[in-house]
């Protein structure tokens, strides 16, 4: 076990998670604070027979990994704000063509070039709605390096299970901070492999006809079945169609396969919720300060509870409503102008109980910041 204990950056934990999940193809373009992921994979992949390519931009990076996924690889790219913006059109393609892939966004301060070397959590809604058109998306996050590794594996599992792009929404603090990480032995974490069709060569394969369980077995490019993949609405052969029935049922399928499985996808952590008067909801690096605050105030007798979201999309509406039913106040701690706060308000009964505790200046929100905001919310003054 000891040799699996390392002291690393969060970006490295993400790399370990990706390799654990069997990722074999990475394409990317350097951008702070995600660059270490590309640098590490450039070094690590060829020795395992995998492939790394530095593309000319983030657009081509996502396009390239979609191509790599179609030949049967588990694939990933990593970026930050501006690069994530450039990826939005190809992200929609992956949604539409149902291509498993993982996109890491190590968030920095935006909009635009923004605050490149500083932390932000402002891309929550971009992850959900950045690409055009109705769709569903899976977005995961993490607050410790151990969780970064596990959520990265989970991301690949979800991408393969639902044939969809999955976004890993980390942030600058998580990406660059160093802490210990135990790399699990193979077999400890579940790993979902590519589901391939059992239809034999020469038999008509319908690449876009879901099985009874809703899953779509794939066939690798270069393999037995030659079929069409397109970003246009398409029929069960993957051929473009604007037939209203085809269009409607495909859009419903794309959304339902994720929204109806919210329970399978959702990951969260909770502490002291049973008797909590005030529940603090957070995610990513902000959740570290939140947890510290909760532990600290508990010791002094404040009945605070802790709910950390490790999956943000699909938003776990029922979970939040249930967990927050009895709390007098709900405080969402995040480093943006209230993107998750709005979602929590929409999820709970009596949304006037919901407050935002934020910091948006590029510095990590501290336990002291949270404590002071809590005092204001509770009417105790600072």
């Amino acid at each position: 076990m000891e040799e699996n204990l390392v002291f690393v950056q969060g970006n490295e934990a993400c790399v370990e998670g990706a390799l654990y999940a069997g990722m074999s193809f990475f394409a990317g373009y350097p951008i702070t604070p995600s660059t270490e992921i590309a640098e590490l994979l450039a070094r690590r992949l060829p020795g395992r027979g995998g492939r790394f390519i530095q593309m000319e931009d983030e657009i081509s990076s996502l396009c390239a990994i979609i191509g790599g996924s179609l030949t049967g690889n588990k694939v990933m790219t990593a970026t930050s704000g501006p690069g994530f913006s450039l990826m939005q059109e190809a992200l929609g393609f992956a949604v539409m063509a149902e291509i498993p892939c993982v996109i890491v966004n190590v968030q920095r301060g935006g909009p635009s070039t923004g605050n490149p070397t500083h932390v932000g959590q402002g891309d929550v809604n971009q992850a959900r709605w950045g690409t055009h058109g109705d769709h569903a998306i899976i977005t995961l996050t993490a607050s410790t390096h151990q969780d970064v590794l596990e959520m990265t594996v989970h991301a690949f599992n979800m991408a393969e299970t639902y044939r969809t792009p999955v976004i890993l929404l980390f942030d600058e603090v998580i990406g660059h901070m160093r802490e210990k990480l135990v790399i699990p032995e193979a077999g400890v974490l579940p790993v979902v492999d590519r589901l391939r069709t059992s239809v034999k060569r020469g038999v008509d394969y319908h690449p876009y006809l879901p099985r009874e369980d809703g899953r779509l077995p794939m066939s690798d490019f270069g393999g037995d079945h030659r079929y069409n993949v397109t970003g246009l609405y398409h029929d069960m052969w993957g051929f473009p169609s604007s037939n209203p029935k085809v269009v409607e049922s495909l859009l419903n399928h794309l959304v339902d396969k994720i929204e109806t499985n919210v329970h399978e996808i959702t990951r969260y952590k909770e502490l002291y919720l049973e008797d909590a008067e005030v529940i603090l909801i957070s995610f990513g690096s902000a959740a570290r300060s939140t947890l510290h605050t909760v532990e600290n105030r508990r010791r002094r007798g404040d009945r605070l509870g802790y709910l950390e979201l490790q999956s943000i999309w699909p938003f776990p509406v029922d979970l939040i409503r249930e967990k927050c039913r009895k709390a007098r106040r709900i405080v969402v701690v995040e480093m943006n102008k209230g993107q998750v706060t709005g979602l929590v308000k929409a999820a709970v009964e009596n949304p006037e109980r919901v407050f935002l505790a934020n910091r948006i200046d590029g510095e990590l929100i501290s336990p002291t910041n949270i404590k002071n905001i809590l005092r204001i919310i509770q009417g105790r003054g600072v």
């Binding site: 193809f25 060829p46 027979g49 396009c63 179609l70 030949t71 694939v75 270069g222 030659r226 079929y227």
Partner: protein, 265 residues
């Protein structure tokens, strides 16, 4: 096998206008592949968006119909992740050289083994006749109602300068030559560019005194000459046809394979 074995009849009739040159290029491509005797299951056709890009749906290979301008980016991922596959990317001139221009020069620079076909009709056909980076100065387009003031690229010079190791030009009038050039381009190990001059009677011809497809084909016949003909030097409107570059240089996937070997992967 006959030519029909290479098309997906289920998806016909195709969407191209009568007289569109893109059908001729489809025909040349299929015949080239047939004559090369390639295994259909080893070929991936990757295209972007445009009238030209629809070619990928009609051929019975693995086919990937992607985003406007991004065919080569997707194709790079397919090829690099599975280098044994033969990759062909048919693109419109806007697709390849406007929105996709960056991917075009970088794919050429890497010399990755992909055959890029620029189906150059000098116009944006699919969106209704706007000027493209291959429209000539003075051409009329819906977005150049007073005549185009832009300068066109020379696709052959661009590809050559960017590092493509096979560069050729042909036309839909010269279909036989087109087949033979495509065969060489596909067989070539490295990035191959074939500029295939094509006609769009609907969106280009009508606006530019080339009233129908036969007139446009006649123009391609009279305004192109084999490489080295004196006429090309005398008249800038006359373009040379043939193979401009054919060199063996380190191919990208081969080079990475050596990295993998060295690293023990």
């Amino acid at each position: 096998m006959g030519t029909r074995d290479f098309i997906r009849e289920r998806f016909f009739p195709h969407m191209w206008c009568p007289g569109c040159g893109h059908g001729t290029i489809l025909n040349c491509l299929i015949r080239a592949i047939e004559e090369l005797g390639l295994d259909k299951s080893n070929i991936v056709v990757v295209s972007g968006i445009g009238c030209s890009a629809r070619i990928s749906g009609y051929v019975d290979f693995h086919s990937l119909h992607t985003l406007h301008g991004r065919a080569l980016a997707f194709a790079t991922g397919v090829k690099f992740s599975q280098p044994e596959l033969t990759i062909i990317t048919p693109m419109g001139d806007g697709d390849a050289l406007a929105i996709g221009g960056n991917h075009f020069i970088h794919a050429a620079r890497r010399n990755i083994d992909i055959t890029a076909i620029v189906m150059n009709n000098r116009i944006y056909g699919m969106t209704g006749g706007q000027y493209s980076p291959m429209s000539c100065t003075g051409d009329y387009a819906t977005t150049a109602p007073f005549g185009n003031i832009d300068n066109p690229f020379d696709a052959v010079k661009l590809a050559t300068a960017a590092g493509a190791s096979f560069v050729a030009r042909t036309t839909t009038y010269h279909a036989k030559e087109g087949i033979s050039i495509l065969k060489k381009a596909i067989r070539h190990r490295g990035f191959s560019v074939v500029e295939f001059l094509s006609q769009c009677p609907t969106q280009y011809g009508r606006r530019n005194q080339l009233v129908n497809a036969p007139v446009m084909l006649e123009y391609l016949k009279t305004h192109t000459v084999p490489i080295g003909s004196a006429r090309a030097a005398e008249d800038p409107e006359i373009l040379e046809r043939g193979i401009f570059v054919e060199e063996l240089r380190a191919e990208y996937c081969d080079a990475y394979e050596q990295v993998i070997q060295k690293e023990g992967g």
